[in-house]
Amino acid sequence: MKILVCISHVPDTTSKINFTNNDAEFDKNGVQFVINPYDEFCLTRAMWFKEKQGATVTVVNVGGTETEPTLRKALAIGADDAIRVNTNPADGFLVAKELAAVVKNGGYDLVLAGKESADYNGQMVPGMLASLTDFNFINGCVAMEVEGTSVTAKREIDGGNQTVTTNLPLVVGGQKGIVEEKDLRIPNMRGIMMARKKPLQVLEPTGAAASTSISSFEKPVPKGAVKLVDADNLDELINLLHNEAKVI
């Protein structure tokens, strides 16, 4: 089985978010970049396929040279090789189109991608990629098994889970559950050393067009101070929630 794992290069979840250039650009100053947490679950699941039933695992990112350390980290975790599509990931549609070219040329059976990225949270790349390649598609996947070309998977639905069956080739939008938090791999020294020698191929983009552009960013309006209520005066809390906030 040939597996492709899509890796977004995103600010660490603890990052403070600021903007620069008249609020037109994200301020990368002092920000630590990591593998998108949703993609990290998918990468670990891919490693399990590789170890338990044999598979090759390629990781791919659409982005500039600054994303290569993130791809190297994925190689250190155990991916076999990496691809970087050398273009600015201006929007989800553009990224999906560039990935579709990689998928079509690479002959992959299974594409795993986080259901969203922690930076722009578009939640669209896996679905668009599946449509563009005409692969089957499961979103919000919380468990999956592959036998031959048959796939059984669970996806999260409102208030529960749905079990579905399908076939390869398949695109999966994954999230926590596809593996658990405790199963996530941390690169060890040997992995890091080996990752340096693994192939990282840089592909020129197909030149797909974006369908959206960001004109500016805004931060949430700072909120007022908290109103403290004495623990012995909970009637006051109920009063505030009922009469002032009008939420009960």
Partner: protein, 318 residues
């Protein structure tokens, strides 16, 4: 030209977000001086949507579209969008809508702005405000394609009654083939889900152990609320992952969010800050949550919660 709204339903019933997208679509249609068309699939009573401004309602009733299947639903939306010459398609942010919208975007070659929180600030260029960076910021996004899809973030626009007269017609949809087969559905019944709840009661490690959750569940029951938890609590296995709210868990956009024994790590706050009113109950007055909350009680959950339950019961009975 028209604005097409997809009003999502589960087992025939509309979710609140269906009424919200209809309310929103009505206003977008006014902005664009276009007709509003509302599509429902296998909904029991589509006429409910007139209350929120729907004039022309198209219904599709077909057993092969049950349960939900993203590719098939996307194909229906695409057919209707083409037939009605829709320039803007509006969907909500339910799990199902998030599944189908990217497929519709490819079918229509449409730019898709998910997580939109308000009416377009400009129709030329077509600009919408969206959540970004896991709720820590917003982006003003211009959709540059002729056809556009807006994914409306839950509880961002609100439900607005705007009764309208109108028609309900059956739409004869061509059913697409789908490579995904539903085998079974497990759904917790009789419990308010986080996605649908007006109020969410959430607890963290301050509760000390899973055996102390009955009081959280009781508080939730009194408030007709969903229960949720912080990431450490789900990682420890005290509560199911489906209850984990925060940046990498479920997003919360309820009217009222009550955090008990949750310190308020930046990732947790990012996931819940779309909630309108936040209450924190914590023993530590220095907990970061107090900076993000509207109301706070410094106190021991084991004393405060039982009292709060009694007082709320009395309040509800009054």
């Amino acid at each position: 030209m028209s604005v097409l709204v997809f009003a999502d339903s589960t087992e025939g019933k509309f979710k609140k977000t269906a009424f919200e997208v209809v309310s929103y679509g009505k206003k977008v249609a006014e902005q664009l001086e276009s007709n509003l068309v509302v599509l429902t699939i296998n909904a029991t009573d589509a006429s409910e949507l007139h209350k929120y401004g729907a004039t022309k309602i198209l219904t599709v009733a077909n057993d092969s579209l049950s349960p939900f299947n993203a590719k098939q639903y996307a194909a229906v939306l695409t057919q209707v969008a083409n037939k009605e010459n829709a320039t803007v398609v509006v969907v909500d942010s339910s799990i199902d809508s998030l599944y189908l919208a990217p497929i519709v975007a490819v079918n229509l070659e449409a730019g898709y702005a998910s997580n939109t929180v308000a009416l377009p600030t400009s129709t030329s260029p077509f600009t919408v405000k969206r959540k970004a960076f896991s709720n820590k910021a917003f982006s003003n996004t211009v959709i540059t394609t002729d056809k556009k899809i807006i994914g409306l973030a839950k509880n961002s626009f609100g439900i607005h009654e705007n009764p309208a007269e109108g028609t309900t017609e059956n739409f004869d949809a061509e059913i697409a083939t789908s490579g995904i087969k539903s085998e079974s559905i497990e759904r917790v019944t009789g419990k308010v889900t986080i996605a649908d709840a007006d109020t969410v009661v959430s607890a963290g490690r301050g509760l000390k152990g899973p055996e102390n959750w009955p009081m959280i569940e009781e508080l939730a029951e009194v408030l007709n609320a969903a229960t949720a938890c912080s990431k450490p609590v789900s990682d420890l296995g005290w509560r199911p992952h489906s209850e984990h709210v925060g940046q990498t868990g479920k997003p919360v956009a309820s009217n009222l969010y009550i955090a008990i024994g949750i310190s308020g790590a930046i990732q947790h706050l990012a996931g819940i800050n779309a909630s309108k009113v936040k209450v924190v109950i914590n023993t530590d007055p220095e907990a970061p949550f107090f900076k993000a909350a509207d109301y706070g009680v410094v106190g021991d959950a084991f004393e405060v919660i039982p009292q709060l339950i009694e007082k709320l019961k009395a309040f509800k009975a009054a």
